[in-house]
């Protein structure tokens, strides 16, 4: 498989160059002087999302740099989650949803025929608003992804054939849990049901589960909204650390949180428009747009 | 058996006789109405219902549909042929009343003089003799049709029968044994009584096991429901005892179903009633101790003969009730309706035309006399 795609790659590469060029121009139209350092990991260009007749996201064009934290903020219903879900095509799950425009991941268009959704979602992981561990043991939760991808075999058959990757799995579990700052709390009860963990622990477990498949991007949709302040601050620290290796995109309704943890911030306002996108400091100290300023100072929303 | 009623151990209302006088039912005063009307001299015009034997059904049902149609005498459909001379029993009838009007008026009912509106309506339910006997005894219906004697059906003594019901015999059946087309095509058109007995007692199960038969085919032994008159008569007349044991592959509720099974399957043998034979359901000759009874009316000994061992009476039982005239076994509706079958007209149209055997004149007169006692 890898060989075939390899040969095809050249065609797509060429198209990307042009679209990428356009993208940057359009972004510059919107925020004349925002230039981040490093490579763009995800690029959306003229992205529109509809739910039935409802136009939820309008013409969003943005470049998200790699290995940094990008926060998406805005009032409720402005389309933050919609935008986030369009980055790993989780919107496909919603039957009424329809997507126009383009999103590129590492320069590859993800809204094209033949795209391997499984592979895409492996590489663009996601953590949800409320923790959603599987009703299985902690160990199984972490190894779930790799097992389904065939990277680790732990099944009965594999064990019978002496082919199981027990050690590898152990290692992976430990590593993922350490990265998610959960190892110390659960090391001695890996076989307990994950539903027995506290909310904050469950959310970190979900992050660990996401990390276990070694993604490149982690999308987080209000990951701390269901948590108490202590758990929240743990998650915030964790996100900060993750940005060293991963590209993190996080939706939050808490402006203080966005200010604390993100490198750049995109502000959506009602109607599904991306109104401003810049370094976080800039947005919070000196936004270009009056509406953004009103929003940030709590005049509405 | 016995007379313990079908509502089992439900509660207070135990015997059929007791409930039927209506003293214990809650909302219905239907039956009490009826009885009081009768004893008061007027004639109830409630629906007359009959239930039971699938053997008697063709007779009763045809009669019932003639009755309900209450057609004028000019109407060919009920007079057999439209040509007056050919009407069976015309001399006897000689009327210009409508059909049901005529028969009912003899028992004191007001003629309606309307087509399709008899002085009272009749209906006939199809099940089998056991059900008919049960139903009439429990007062569920007016007439219980049965093709087996009620004594055998319900395991009664003759005395009990005489105290409980009266027996209206309306015709005779020469119970045939039938085989499916493939069997008769193999040339099997006659069996001995012993062979049939052997088949029905599970001693042979392949046609080729019978003497002189080379047809290698499992015998599909079809029986009638336990409690059906056809089954009871067959056990009684063929196997020697109403409670004789037998072994069959299938039992069906009604004669019609048996006929359908015989026509649908290979290797089949069944006992039934004459009305249900056809070119797919072929009666065979039976050899009883040297006498061969042929299914052909013109042969020397035939299954239509009264000495054919399987010959049986077809009954319409009615219940002896206090409310009836003279406390007898028939009220006027029952008598009027049954009387229709006891005329020459009825015997020809309802009995003989259904391939059954009309009653001999002497028996017929005896029955008529009994029924006519109810006349006002």
């Amino acid at each position: 498989m890898s060989e075939t795609t390899h040969s095809e790659r050249t065609d797509t590469d060429s198209t990307i160059e042009t679209t990428a060029g356009e993208t940057i121009e359009q972004v510059q139209e919107s925020w004349t002087d925002y230039k981040f350092q490093g490579e763009a990991k995800l690029t959306s260009e003229g992205l529109d999302v509809y739910y039935g007749d409802d136009h939820a996201l309008k013409d969003v064009t943005i470049e998200i740099p790699e290995k940094s934290v990008t926060a998406l903020i805005g009032p409720s219903g402005c389309g933050k989650s919609t935008f986030l879900r369009s980055l790993n095509r989780m919107n496909d799950r919603i039957r009424s949803a329809r997507v126009d425009g383009s999103v590129q991941f590492d320069g590859k268009e993800i809204y094209q025929e033949g795209i391997d959704l499984v592979e895409l979602r492996k590489r663009v992981g996601m953590v949800f608003q409320s923790p959603n561990p599987f009703p299985k043991s902690i160990h199984e939760n972490i190894t779930y992804g790799p097992r389904k991808h065939g990277d680790i075999e732990t099944g009965l058959l594999a064990r019978l054939l002496g082919r199981d990757d027990w050690d590898e799995a152990e290692e992976l579990v430990e590593q993922s849990l350490r990265q998610a700052a959960l190892w110390d709390e659960v090391a001695d009860r890996l076989d307990d049901n994950a539903l027995g963990l506290s909310g904050g622990q469950q959310q970190r477990l979900c992050i660990a589960r996401c990390l276990s498949v070694d993604p490149e991007v982690i999308l987080m949709d209000e990951p701390a909204s269901a948590l108490d302040p202590i758990a929240t601050s743990k998650i915030e620290d964790l996100i900060h650390d993750l940005a060293e290796d991963y590209t993190v995109v996080i939706v939050t309704h808490n402006m203080q949180q966005a200010a604390r943890i993100s490198d750049q911030t995109a502000v959506f306002l009602t109607g599904g428009k991306l109104v401003e996108y810049d370094d976080t400091d800039k947005i919070f100290e000196n936004p270009e747009s009056q509406r953004v300023e009103d929003y940030i100072t709590g005049k509405f929303g | 058996g016995g007379q313990s009623s079908s509502d089992g151990g439900s509660d207070g209302s135990s015997g059929g006789d007791e409930t039927s006088d209506g003293s214990s039912d809650m909302t219905s005063d239907g039956s009490s109405d009826e009885t009081s009307d009768d004893s008061g001299g007027g004639n109830s015009t409630e629906l007359l219902d009959a239930e039971g034997s699938s053997t008697v059904y063709p007779i009763a049902n045809k009669g019932s549909s003639y009755w309900n149609s209450n057609a004028p005498p000019s109407d060919g459909e009920y007079w057999g042929e439209n040509d007056e001379g050919s009407v069976p029993g015309w001399d006897e009838i000689d009327t210009d009343m409508l059909l049901a009007d005529y028969f009912a008026s003899q028992f004191g009912f007001e003629p309606t003089e309307q087509r399709s509106e008899a002085p009272f309506q009749t209906t006939v339910g199809l099940s089998h003799s056991g059900t008919g006997c049960e139903a009439v005894v429990n007062g569920l219906v007016d007439i219980g049709n049965s093709s087996g004697p009620i004594t055998a059906e319900l395991g009664w003594s003759e005395e009990k029968r005489d105290n409980t019901v009266v027996d209206n015999v309306v015709g005779r059946d020469g119970q045939p044994v039938v085989v499916s087309k493939d069997v008769s095509d193999e040339g099997i058109d006659q069996l001995t009584g012993d062979q049939i007995r052997a088949i029905y007692q599970g001693e042979v199960d392949n046609w080729s096991d019978l003497d002189g038969v080379s047809y290698d085919q499992e015998i599909y032994v079809i029986g009638r429901a336990e409690g059906s008159g056809t089954d009871t008569s067959f056990r009684l007349n063929m196997l020697g005892d109403a409670n004789a044991s037998m072994e069959v592959d299938t039992r069906q509720g009604q004669n019609q179903q048996v006929a359908q099974l015989v026509s649908q399957n290979d290797g089949a043998i069944a006992y039934m009633a004459l009305a249900f034979t056809s070119d797919q359901v072929l009666p065979i000759a039976i050899d009883f101790e040297g006498t061969v009874y042929e299914p052909d009316r013109n042969a020397e000994h035939t299954i239509y003969d009264s000495d054919y061992p399987l010959n049986r009476d077809l009954h319409m039982y009615t219940l002896i009730e206090e409310g009836n005239p003279n406390g007898g076994g028939r009220d006027r509706r029952e008598a009027a309706f049954i009387n229709m079958f006891l005329t020459e007209f009825g015997q020809t149209l309802f009995v003989e035309d259904n391939n059954y055997i009309p009653l001999p004149t002497s028996d017929l007169e005896e029955m008529q006399e009994a029924v006519n006692q109810v006349k006002p």
Binding site: M1, S2, E3, T4, T5, H6, S7, R9, F105, D106, K108, G114, I115, D116, V118, E119, R123, G150, E153, L156, L157, A158, L161, R163 | D7, G8, S10, S13, G16, T19, G22, D25, M26, T27, S28, D29, G30, S31, D33, E46, L47, D49, P58, N61, S65, N68, S69, A71, Y78, S116, Q121, T123, G125, L126, L140, Q256, Q257, A259, Q260, A275
Partner: protein, 540 residues
């Protein structure tokens, strides 16, 4: 931006490899269809198809199919075909492959050594185990193709070589004689094999691995859904097809051809005459019909609804609005669910023992109504309760916050909001009881061929009496017919309906059709109502 990982994102299988697997899937589908056609006697086992005798033709196709998928598997293993196989086909596939091989082994063993002998089972265990191993141990592309391909080839050879020819019969040698014949075994074998190979081919089409299994499973699930719909369509189409002639016997359209109908004193002559539904059975009729049974069914349903709906809704109100959720409501819930699953014949027995002695000691319309009412009650209760539970608590809170009492809230807010659910539930429930035979068999069944003049007239039957209970209705206390019972009676009465019905078979099928139409129209109305209400309430 490592090139290897990146290229994974876009599937890059060439059209030609997909085509090979695709052809195998198509061939399997063809064989599947062929086997069904054989079951339905559209194609005869002894006959020919495009000039070739059916059995060898099917055998050849099976061999071809088995060959194709084995070739595909080996091609993939040797790297000629682009796939992403897992290291093993997995436990499920292994068990799935072991089962038919076990059956094959047992059959071959039993035929050779005589059925019932241990030899067959031993052989089956051996073949099953081998198939299991051959699926489980090698890489997935081999494991999921070789054993199943071989099975297909084996089946094909058996048919092609004439070991199982069109006249093949295997007497099972049981006391109650039964045999397997080519007429059954050939299509059954083809059906099973084509499903298996189709599954394997679909996996191959998906390139094995997670995606392959996904495709394989979806193929089977789609076939299943399609078959269910097909069964439904065939059942309906068949009944309609067979029933139409009887239904339309003597039908006429035109002014003044129909019977007169009186409604509120007005008498109208219908412009349609459909004797089958407008007549009873009578000597003088030109055409016979089942009107009394239709009317009987109508009254049965009315009676059951009048009994069960108020009771069910009332109980549902008490349970959802008044009763504290606790042991009592739980007990009622268990009881209603128990009633819901009680077999209809048991309701019949109960009606027979309980109601009949209480209503004139005879089978009667009233007993039938109540028996069906007992059956309908749990259905109404459960659906009403669900509908009321799904009325948002906000409505109740809003009403309470306005200082409105509980019963007024129930009446003015809860019930109207629950109405769509209740109505839908009742209609569907009515559809179910309208088609029930068993309970009315024991409690109501009347005559088989009922004259039109005996059509029940419940309204006209009421009269007042001088003795308690002062009101009587003999019509309610008489037995009458209903469509499902009439059909049952027609089945048991078989042929020989007597002179009155010209074509008994048409008459029976037409009765079945009418019953189906009556019952399914309740369902159609119920399902339609649900869609309507859902659509209507959507703008919330």
């Amino acid at each position: 931006m490592a090139s290897a990982t990146e290229s994974d994102l876009i599937s890059g299988r060439t059209d030609s490899t997909e085509a090979v697997a695709g052809i195998a899937v198509g061939l399997a589908a063809l064989l599947f269809a062929l086997s069904l056609a054989t079951f339905f006697d559209v194609v005869s086992v002894t006959g020919t198809l495009v000039g070739v005798p059916v059995v060898p033709l099917v055998g050849g196709l099976l061999i071809l199919l088995g060959g194709a998928i084995i070739t595909f598997g080996i091609g993939s293993y040797l790297g000629y075909v682009e796939t992403t196989p897992s290291p093993t086909a997995g436990l499920v596939a292994a068990v799935a492959a072991a089962v038919p091989w076990f059956v094959a082994g047992v059959s071959v063993g039993s035929i050779m050594l005589g059925s019932g002998s241990a030899g067959g089972v031993v052989l089956g265990l051996v073949t099953g185990a081998v198939a299991f191993a051959a699926t489980a141990f090698p890489r997935e592309d081999l494991g999921s193709t070789l054993p199943i391909g071989a099975l297909s080839i084996l089946a094909g050879l058996v048919l092609l070589s004439g070991i199982i020819g069109p006249e093949w019969v295997w007497d099972l040698g049981w006391e109650q004689q039964a045999s397997l014949t080519a007429g059954f075994v050939v299509p059954a074998l083809t059906l099973a094999t084509s499903l298996y190979v189709g599954w394997a081919a679909a996996k191959a089409y998906g390139g094995f691995g997670a995606r392959g299994r996904h495709v394989g499973a979806y193929a089977l699930v789609y076939v299943n859904a399609l078959s269910i719909v097909a069964v439904l369509v065939i059942l309906l189409a068949f009944t309609v097809f067979r029933g139409i002639p009887g239904l339309l016997t003597g039908a006429e359209i035109g002014l003044g051809v129909g019977p007169e109908v009186g409604l509120f004193g007005l008498s109208v002559q219908l412009p349609v005459s459909l004797p089958f539904v407008m007549n009873g059975v009578a000597l003088l009729n030109d055409y016979q019909g089942v009107l009394p049974a239709i009317v009987g069914t109508f009254w049965l349903v009315i009676g059951a609804v009048l009994f069960a709906v108020p009771l069910g809704i009332g109980a549902a109100i008490f349970l959802t609005e008044y009763a504290e959720r606790g042991r009592f409501t739980q007990a009622v819930e268990v009881a209603t669910n128990g009633l819901w699953s009680t077999p209809s014949i048991v309701f019949g027995l109960f009606g027979f023992a309980f109601l009949i002695p209480r209503f004139g000691n005879g089978k009667s319309l009233l007993s039938g109504m109540l028996t069906l009412g007992f059956m309908l009650l749990p259905l109404v209760l459960i659906t009403s309760r669900e509908a009321m539970l799904s009325v948002p608590d906000e409505y109740r809170d809003a009403s309470a916050a306005l200082g409105v009492t509980k019963w007024q809230t129930i009446r003015s807010v809860v019930l109207p909001a629950a109405l769509p659910g209740v109505v839908t539930g009742v209609i569907l429930g009515v559809g179910r009881i309208a088609g029930e035979t068993a309970p009315i068999l024991l409690t109501m069944a009347g005559g088989t061929f009922v004259p039109g003049s005996q059509t029940v007239d419940v309204i006209g039957g009421f009269k007042f009496t001088a003795t308690p209970p002062f009101v009587a209705n003999p019509e309610l206390l008489q037995a009458t017919s209903a469509l499902p019972y009439q059909l049952f009676a027609l089945i048991t009465a078989g042929v020989g309906l007597g002179d009155s019905v010209a074509n008994p078979n048409d008459f029976r099928w037409a009765t079945a059709l009418i019953l189906l139409v009556v019952v399914l129209s309740f369902y159609a109305i119920g399902i339609g109502a649900r869609y309507y209400f859902r659509r209507k309430l959507q703008y919330e």
